[in-house]
Subunit: 452 residues, 2 copies
């Protein structure tokens, strides 16, 4: 089924959307689905979702540990005098948030300021549009809960010096947000598809309610408790199982990471196996509903075109050093005498790494097996590849592990995870003139102005 | 300073020691330091350290969660009926441990059976020799606490069907342990160097007592508590700092992993940053006491020759798929028309991957930056390389992070970690005839028979 899920996102001249994806995917033509809206868009109610700054995090953490603020200052000072640094970033962020809120209010828009921990479906329902005020991480979380196609999401990078902000508006709008609002109202933007990922869980002992990892950051105890209290509630019904795949109420804009969420290393035969902290994931993978293949690795990543520049890229990219070595060995094995200049190696490396990236509007998913362990038990199938239909993984997970959707941790004790192209792709507004030809159907009309 | 730490380990015909390391390291000749002992060795007191089986782990975990054993059975059944499977592996392990213990006792040797959680310096002091009864992980832990050169360590693989046992005796000795004892007594073994890693910590808020991650596996709460209670104890002395590097009472046989011990992914600009669970490590690295270089990655691995077949290998190895792609691009960029047969690609891949492995007696360390993130802030220096003197890393870590020595987690809030070749290499006993020439000094005489 080729259902689509639309995310209306405002992205004026976002580099990621416009310029960064070369037409590389070898198997399918890239659809430049980019269309001009028929009219502008003026929301009446906007929710502004803010990130938790590092300063706030440290403050909360030490309060949780029972330390006074003075102790915090000393402790941070011991850590390298970063107290004032953290406070400075915090103030910059806060000031930029205030600028956004004031700009919206001056435009006669009702604003609800929401910390990310309090951001939920109710907020999404209330708002006509949502502004993410933070970095890319905040943007990803905000987008993940917007399932409808009538709800624009706008990302403002509140700390451009520290945050890359690939998914946010260009940096100039951070202190000039009224300009962005203006363009929105006048319809001076373009729609662009961003494919997302739907996730189905099937199996036993599943808790389909995602746990926001970021909000659990204060304490791992909270994280495991969040999962455990659910499983204890369920322990009275030990025979509960989910026989039909359960579609989760979230969408992956970048990627799904499947595996031990606390795994930092592959557990090879000579590594200490520590089930909770450092270990490999044992699972089986099936691509395009094909045969199941056993794998042991540091996890499995399934990404979209948008996400192909993110984690997946770092998993798969090669350093020049490695490319040079491969070429040297190849040259030597082939008994040839070809010069390998620095420039040549750079070009080959760049081309290789660029090939890992594909267009956000590409409907395919790219799966990557991270640090595969190949031995007498586990096969050496493809380390990565495209899927147009689905990628499935099944395993037995403990309560602290399981699929991770860019920061949301899902608990399933035994289950099968199925990731599919997320039905309606996310529409993404971009700046500039629309492309002259498109074979795509017209985008939905701009969200209707809500009547109060 | 070229101090060495010797680990006397018995390894009869261990494949890792004898056959698997091609003479590849390009910078230094491999020293085949392999010598026949002058006499046999008969210990009077042997400690047998056993692993915790998966079955025991699950049992303890659910007891900790307050579930009865019946519930455990049901829960495991829901997970895929692995209860009987786990029990089976547990019984196999237990039976093999009993065989080892009985063999030692029949040889008139006093035996102390110790669970790995109870294994400490006192046990090491008491014993003349130590038998590790488990897999490679147990072997690594057992070896890590043996600092003296007079203490042989013997690894018995108690579940050959499930465990690779690279560092253990060949599988045939698992049920024929008296034969191994025999060879030991008759001196029918060889010494082989295994270089290890010394670790210095310097900085503030350091708790130099390693926390055994494996023993913390029952509960992350315990793990963080173990670190936190120490830091709370220290919170009364917030100005405590370690001005001189503190040498840790452990030795790394495989590798040191430095970074967020809970990091499972790089935190790119578009990933959710979640400080406690999924994030990149920010640190600086200095090789051979050279200039400091900023890095952001999934961590830093520093391994020995022994460890070059382990985690480091999985971090660095390439899949045929990647090698094929590089060669194709290279061919295309060079405008050449060279056939790339499956066989050719396999050969290049194998040669590349083999080059990642070096000899256990090589004194160098190999550092690898895992999933480096390169952007406007972080440089793209070498992704990996050798060091003969030292590799240093410095950062600000939280209490749940910091350097990980193959399963031991070290807590330092702000610090510099310095890994050096571990002084005296570990002597490893191997089966077979000694090599005819060696330029190495004679090995220490076989451990003296202790008088009671």
């Amino acid at each position: 089924m080729a259902l689509r899920s639309i995310l209306n996102s405002m992205c004026l001249g976002n580099r990621a959307a416009c310029c960064r994806f070369p037409l590389h995917p070898p198997h399918a033509p890239v659809r430049r689905a980019s269309c001009q809206p028929r009219s502008g868009f003026k929301p009446e109610k906007v929710a502004v979702v803010t990130k938790t700054t590092r300063f706030e995090f440290e403050l909360q953490r030490y309060r949780y540990a029972g330390l006074a603020e003075e102790d915090l200052k000393q402790l941070l000072a011991l850590k390298g005098s970063s107290y004032s640094g953290l406070l400075e970033r915090h103030d910059i962020h806060t000031s930029n948030v205030e600028h956004v809120v004031r700009s919206l209010e001056r435009a006669g828009i009702e604003v609800q300021l929401v910390k990310r921990g309090a951001y939920n479906e109710e907020v999404v329902r209330w708002a006509d549009a949502i502004v993410s005020a933070g970095g890319d991480g905040t943007m990803l979380l905000v987008a993940s809960k917007v399932l409808s196609k009538d709800k624009p999401v706008v990302g403002v990078n509140t700390d451009p010096e520290r945050s890359e902000g690939h998914l946010c508006l260009p940096v100039r709008y951070t202190r000039a947000f009224p300009e962005a609002l203006d363009k929105l109202c006048r319809g001076e933007f373009r729609w662009l598809w961003r494919q997302r990922i739907r996730l189905h869980l099937e199996g036993t002992g599943i808790n389909p309610t995602p746990v926001d990892l970021h909000e659990q950051q204060l304490s791992l105890e909270q994280h495991s408790q969040a999962h455990r209290s659910d499983s204890q509630q369920r322990s009275g019904t030990l025979h509960q199982s989910v026989s039909t795949p359960s579609l989760l109420p979230v969408r992956g804009l970048n990627e799904i990471f499947i595996g031990e969420s606390l795994s930092s290393s592959p557990s090879t035969s000579s590594m200490l196996t520590c089930p909770e902290l450092i270990r490999a994931s044992y699972y089986e993978i099936s691509v395009e509903d094909g045969p199941w293949e056993k794998q042991k690795s540091s996890g499995l990543s399934i990404c979209t075109g948008t996400g192909s520049k993110a984690w997946s890229y770092n998993i798969n990219k090669l350093a020049e050093q490695a490319v040079e070595e491969v070429l040297k060995i190849g040259r030597s094995q082939a008994g040839m005498d070809v010069p390998l200049s620095r420039e040549f190696i750079e070009k080959v490396t760049d081309e290789y790494n660029q090939s890992l990236v594909f267009s956000p509007d590409d409907r395919r998913l790219l799966f990557s097996i991270r640090e595969p362990i190949v031995n007498r038990v586990f096969s050496s199938g493809r380390q990565r590849g495209f899927a147009s239909k689905s990628v499935r993984a099944r395993s037995v997970w403990t309560c602290r592990t399981g699929p991770v959707l860019t920061g949301l941790s899902l608990c399933a004790t035994a289950g099968c995870v199925c990731a599919r192209g997320a039905g309606t792709p996310a529409w993404w507004w971009t700046e500039g003139r629309p492309s002259s030809s498109t074979t795509e159907p017209s985008p939905p009309s701009a969200p209707v102005r809500r009547t109060s």
